[in-house]
Symmetry: C2
Subunit: 349 residues, 2 copies
C-alpha cells in the first residue's frame, strides 16, 4: 500500500505535514511507502532535521495551488503543482490514495479531472466525521457540490452509509436528510424528492434530521448539498472555538477560577478528546477512481496521522468496490440512467 501526500497546502508548513507522516508510518506498518509530493528543497530540509526516512520517497513538484487560486483554472494552468501530481500518482497506479491539505475547491477539481468519477456516480462529495455526545456521525456533502439534484443526495446517502459501515463499524447506519424540521411537510423541493427516492431503497432512512438532532445521535449519516453542509461544518468549528475561547478566558479571570481549572484539568483534557475535530483528521472525497482525503488546512501532526490512517482504512475496506456495486444497484432500482453529458466536468468551477 502506497499513499501520496501533498505536503504543500497547509497553514503550518510542510515540516508539520512530514512529522505527521512519520507518526503515521510508526503506527501503520501496513503502509509500504509514503510519497511526499512538493518542493524538493523544503522536503529535503524537513527530512534532514530529524527522524528516520525509511518508507518515504520524495516526488518533486515545482508549483503550489494557493487558497486564492480559482480551482479549475489553477488545476489546468499549474500542471506541475503538488496537488495535481499527487492525483496523477493515484491515476497512474503509483499510489492507492492521495492526501492534501490545500484549497478544497482545487482538490475537488483536480481529483475529478485526473481520477474521474466511478462509473455509476454522478457527483463526488466530501464526507466528514463529526463528534456527537454519544459517538460520531458522517456529514456529506460538506463542500464539493454547491447545487445538487435529488439523485446526487441519494448517492451521497449510499456512499456515506458505506463509509459509516466499513470505517466506523455501524452495521446498519441510520441515514437522515438535513432539513429545517422533522415533519415531512418541511424542507425544500430538493429534500422532499430526495426523501421520496430514499424510501424506495434498502437504506435505514430516518427521514428529516434538524440541527438539534445532529449531536444527539438521531442519525449516523446526514446528507445535504455542499453549500449547506459547508456552512454547517464551518459554523460548528466557529462556534466550538468561540465557546472554548470564552470558557478559557473566564477560567483565567481570577485566582480561584485558575485553581479550580487546575484541579479539573483532567476534565478539559477528556472534553478535548471527546470533541476535538483533530481526532477525526481526514475528510474523504467519495466516488472517485482512487482514494482522496482532504485534511484540514490547519491540520497539525496528529490530524495528518489520522488522515493517513483514514486513507489506509479506506483502501483496506475496498470502499470503492462497495460504492460501485451499491450505487449501481440503487440507480437501477430508481430507474435512473447515468447522464453521459457531464462525466468529465468537475462540479467546482
Amino acid at each position: 500500500m502506497r499513499i501520496a501526500v501533498d505536503v504543500m497546502g497547509g497553514d503550518h508548513g510542510s515540516g508539520v505535514v512530514i512529522n505527521g507522516v512519520r507518526l503515521a508510518l510508526q503506527s501503520l506498518p501496513q503502509i509500504h511507502e509514503i510519497l511526499l509530493v512538493g518542493d524538493q528543497g523544503q522536503i529535503e530540509s524537513a527530512l534532514a532535521a530529524a527522524g528516520p526516512r525509511d518508507r518515504i520517497r520524495l516526488v518533486h513538484a515545482s508549483e503550489v495551488i494557493t487558497m486564492e487560486d480559482k480551482p479549475l483554472d489553477a488545476v489546468r494552468r499549474k500542471k506541475d503543482c503538488s496537488m495535481v501530481r499527487a492525483m496523477e500518482l493515484v491515476r497512474d497506479g503509483k499510489a492507492g490514495a492521495a492526501i492534501s491539505l490545500g484549497n478544497t475547491g482545487a482538490l475537488v477539481a483536480a481529483a475529478t479531472v485526473k481520477l474521474r468519477r466511478l462509473a455509476p456516480v454522478e457527483r463526488a462529495p466530501i464526507a466528514t466525521v463529526m463528534p456527537s455526545v454519544n459517538g460520531e456521525f458522517v456529514l456529506v456533502d460538506v463542500g464539493a457540490n454547491h447545487e445538487c439534484r435529488p439523485i446526487h443526495l441519494v448517492q451521497f446517502a449510499i456512499m456515506g452509509a458505506i463509509y459509516s459501515r466499513e470505517l466506523l463499524h455501524h452495521r446498519q447506519p441510520r441515514v437522515g436528510i438535513l432539513s429545517n424540521g422533522r415533519e415531512e411537510t418541511k424542507g425544500t423541493e430538493l429534500t422532499r424528492e430526495t426523501l421520496r427516492l430514499m424510501r424506495q431503497l434498502d437504506l435505514d432512512c430516518v427521514g428529516y434530521v434538524e440541527g438539534h438532532d445532529l449531536f444527539h445521535g438521531r442519525a449516523d449519516v446526514v446528507v445535504t448539498d455542499g453549500f449547506t453542509g459547508n456552512i454547517v461544518l464551518k459554523t460548528c468549528e466557529g462556534l466550538s472555538r468561540a465557546i472554548f475561547g470564552v470558557v478559557r478566558a473566564e477560567l483565567q479571570a481570577n485566582g480561584w477560577r485558575k485553581l479550580g481549572a487546575a484541579l479539573a484539568r483532567g476534565a478539559f483534557r477528556d472534553i478535548k478528546r471527546r470533541l476535538d475535530p483533530e481526532a477525526y483528521g481526514g475528510a474523504p472525497l467519495l466516488g472517485l477512481n482512487g482514494v482522496v482525503i482532504k485534511a484540514h488546512g490547519g491540520a497539525r501532526e496528529e490530524a495528518i496521522m489520522n488522515a493517513v490512517r483514514v486513507a489506509t482504512e479506506t483502501l483496506q475496506q475496498r470502499i470503492n468496490d462497495a460504492i460501485v456495486r451499491e450505487v449501481a444497484a440503487a440507480n437501477l432500482k430508481l430507474g435512473f440512467t447515468k447522464s453521459t453529458m457531464d462525466t468529465s466536468t468537475p462540479a467546482v468551477a
Copy 2:
C-alpha cells in the same frame, strides 16, 4: 402601549408564560397593559396562584395550534385559536405587538394572513439575535421563507440592519451574506445576485461571511434563506447544548473535578451569561403591519420577559416606519417593482 401574549403554545405551560409577563410588567413601566390570550380557565388559575394582576387583561380563545398542525391549514380552520386571536388584536389596533411561543410556521402564516406585509416588503423573515465572542449579531431569515429570491435577501438585509441599528445600537451595521467561503467566486446563484444588488445600495456590505466568521464579529447582520438559517440556528443550539452537556458530565466525573468546578463556579455563571440564548428572548418577524415576536417554544420566565422587552423596544423605535421608508427607497434604486400577485399569500404552506 399594549402587548398581546399568546400564552398557549409553550413547552412549559401557560403558568410559566404568565410569570414571565409579570416579570416584564415590573421592569417595563411604559407598558399600559398586557393582554393574555388563551384558555380562560388556565389563565385564571395561573393568575389566582400569586402576584398582582394590574395591567393584565384576559382574552379568551377556545383553541390552540399545536406543533403537529399544518400551518396555513390550522390558521384557516382554528378560527378561535389563541395565536390567531393575538394577531387580530394587533390588526384591530387593540395591541401594538403580539408575542407567541407556538408553532413557527403557523405564526408566520397567521401573521401574514391577518396583518399583511408592509407595502414595499416582499417576504416577512424571522430575525434572531445570536451571541458572539465580542457582542452579538442578527441572523435573518431563520425559518419563515424556505425558498428565497435575491430581492428577498436584499430586503432582509435592510430590515436586519434597521433592527441592529435601532435595537442593538450599531450605528452603521456591517451586513454580510452567509456563504460557503469569503471569495466572491463562492456561493450560489442566489448569493451572487444578492451580493450584486446589495453593492448598489447604501449598506455597509462586507460581502460573504462563512460559518467561521459568525461568532467572531465580522458582520453585525448576516442574511440567508430561511432553510439554511433555520438549520444554522438549530445546529448552534444543538451543538452548544452538546458541548455544555459534555463539560458538565466531565466535571462531575470525580471528586477533584467536582472541587475544581465548585471553585470556578463564577466562571460558569459568567459563561452562561455571555452565551445564553435565553438572554436574547424574542425573535421578531419583520416587515409586517404590526410587531410580532416569536419566543422559543422552550422559553422560561426570563426569556418571556425578554421577548416582551424586545416587543416594547421595537414599538418605541418605530422600526416599521423605518422599514417602509428604507425598503421602498431600495426598491426604487434597484428598479424593483413590487409584485402584486403574492401580497396575500403567506410564505409557509
